[in-house]
């Protein structure tokens, strides 16, 4: 390998590396997050959501948490519809 070729290759790789490391990732970065617990109360009446009353609407005032019908998934089952 001649010196010229070596320099050309090194410069190409340097540019490629620069571009690869500074390029914005599709979908953005992945922030490092710890495990956490959260809850969503009814924004209409403030009641909590109870599992046995279903997940789609508030058991007290009927507020719709989601406008879809749940189907069987990994952890959610169709029985979880209110």
């Amino acid at each position: 390998m001649t010196d010229d070729n070596k320099k050309r290759t090194a410069s190409f790789l340097e540019k490629l590396r620069q571009k690869a490391t500074t390029q914005q990732h599709y979908g953005g970065g992945v922030p490092e997050e710890e495990a956490k617990m959260d809850i969503r109360d009814c924004p209409n009446c403030g009641a909590g959501r109870a599992y046995h009353k279903g997940l789609t609407s508030c058991a007290y005032c009927g507020f719709a948490f989601m406008n879809i019908t749940l189907t069987d998934g990994i952890h959610i089952r169709k029985e979880n519809n209110s």
Binding site: T21, M37, A50
Partner: protein, 276 residues
């Protein structure tokens, strides 16, 4: 009547052209291979470095760099194909069209020259193609394997530590996470039955992402045994595949149902147009 006195066909220009084209083709591929070697030798340490420094859990910077390098190699293949079509294959057709019939002695002799030229050029191309594929493989495996097993064990240990540390956001009662979750999951409070949402950590989510690769690492011996069998043994393939999916399901039991469908599909694809 038998063309005894007809002048014998001779075409020294064609012979010279065949030789010269063959030499130029060989030199061209030699140069491409030299460039390929340069890029592989210099690129592999760079790839390893980028992989090591890449903090993204999906190693996307490394992947971008790998794709950039592979693009260079694929351009070389395209260039070689282009030159082969334009200067070798087209030339062979035009040279053969101008030759006397293959059934005549002279025609037969010159067809043999052209045939030898074709075989020499194509053999050289196949050698180039093999080397290019080897170089691509070397780039793909340059970074080596991630140690997914210890990352997984760390996550298991981390889960054991945190599983009793959560409280219900509604009533403050203690909630124990019953098993390791890899995606957001509803957990009912045992006291007030409120629906809490448990969000696993980024590292726990990565277990789901890396589960298949980890299962592949655990069953690498079986895969190698199948890959090195000649002819490739379908029984060994099934053994490897079953073991890999069993490991996969052990890592993420919630996905066992989905994985089983995938397993059946892979088996069908393997046996499609083959034998069962």
């Amino acid at each position: 009547m038998f063309d005894f006195f007809k002048k014998k066909y001779s075409n020294p220009e064609l012979l010279a052209e065949l030789q010269s084209r063959q030499q130029r083709w060989f030199v061209f591929l030699d140069r491409l291979e030299a460039r390929m070697e340069e890029l592989t030798d210099a690129g592999i340490p760079e790839l390893q470095q980028v992989f090591k420094e890449d903090t993204d859990p999906y190693k996307r910077s490394h992947y971008h760099m790998l794709l950039g390098l592979m693009g260079q190699f694929n351009n070389m293949r395209d260039k070689a194909n282009e030159v082969k079509e334009e200067n070798i294959i087209s030339f062979i057709y035009s040279a053969e069209a101008a030759l006397p019939p293959v059934t005549s002695p002279a025609g037969s002799e010159y067809y043999r020259y052209v045939h030898d030229f074709r075989m020499a050029c194509l053999d050289r191309y196949h050698l180039f193609d093999d080397r290019l594929n080897e170089a691509l493989e070397a780039l793909r495996h340059a970074a080596g394997e991630q140690d997914l097993e210890s990352a997984y064990q760390q996550e298991l240990a981390a889960f054991e530590k945190i599983k009793d540390q959560f409280t219900c956001k509604q009533c403050g009662g203690n909630i124990t996470i019953p098993k390791m979750f890899f995606i957001d999951t509803y957990i009912p409070c045992p006291f007030c039955q409120s629906q809490n949402t448990f969000s696993p950590s980024t590292a726990a989510r990565m277990v789901l992402h890396n589960a298949r690769e980890l299962a592949e690492q655990r069953t690498a011996e079986l895969r190698r045994a199948y890959e090195s069998s000649r002819p490739q043994d379908p029984v060994l393939y099934k053994k490897y595949l079953r073991a890999m999916f069993d490991e996969w399901n052990r890592i993420v039991p919630d996905m066992a149902g989905e994985n089983e469908k995938f397993y059946q599909r892979l088996l069908e694809e393997y046996t499609f147009n083959h034998y069962k």
